[in-house]
Symmetry: C2
Subunit: 103 residues, 2 copies
DNA sequence: TCGGTATTTAGGGAATTACCAAATTACTGT
DNA sequence: ACAGTAATTTGGTAATTCCCTAAATACCGA
């Protein structure tokens, strides 16, 4: 679980996950979305892979990255459990945003 | 938000938050729960403070730490939003089976 | 004000992270 | 086999993280 939080701790990696949530992307497509060298992005991909947050499949010369939602949701569950807020198992209704009553 | 994820990325800090969810603790009580030197724990407290995840109040010679649930829940919301979990606009994409986990 | 308790700050070392350019691997079409 | 495209690995440096011991700060009671 530490690997997952660590992976989420970098803004570039969070943006990669957000892009992958919409659809799968090749490594090159993802790399083009950032103003960083490709080896740098390749390193970020490796962190996401090691956390289990993405999976990869070769297609010709390209590598297709996909988000692994079940792992990401586990992190979410763990966080919710730590905070003692409602579980995601049965989100029947749209969860309204918490209104903050303590402060 | 990066500060919050960064703070969550260390197991000691996550355990501190879990302890604080049950009740407020002094710095010394928290430090006693770990096999680490007190200055090390003090550093972890500082990371949590800078992320806004905890607040602190002096009471005599002790410092009382409390979890700041609203900030933690904001991180939760952000994560849920990033994953599209519990959100009204879930993508209806048929998830193709990712067969290979090459690693 | 002095001594004791609680906690942080200062300073330093080992390990990790983030970034880049250059080299390498994997695949495809000819 | 050769050249071209896609992506990773290698090797290097600067910045950051994590942990420690020692010193400083804040508070309290006598």
């Amino acid at each position: 679980m530490t690997d997952v939080y660590r992976a989420l701790a970098h803004p570039v990696r969070r943006k990669i996950l957000a892009m992958l949530r919409k659809r799968a992307h090749t490594a090159g497509e993802l790399a083009d979305a950032f103003d960083l060298a490709k080896p740098t992005l390749s390193g970020h991909f490796a962190v996401l892979r090691e956390a289990g947050l993405v999976s990869v499949e070769r297609q010709g010369t390209s590598l297709i990255y996909r988000i692994n939602l079940s792992v990401a949701e586990e992190a979410l569950s763990s966080l919710m459990n730590m905070l003692g807020v409602g579980a995601p198992e049965a989100p029947r209704k749209a969860a309204s945003k918490p209104k903050g009553r303590k402060s």
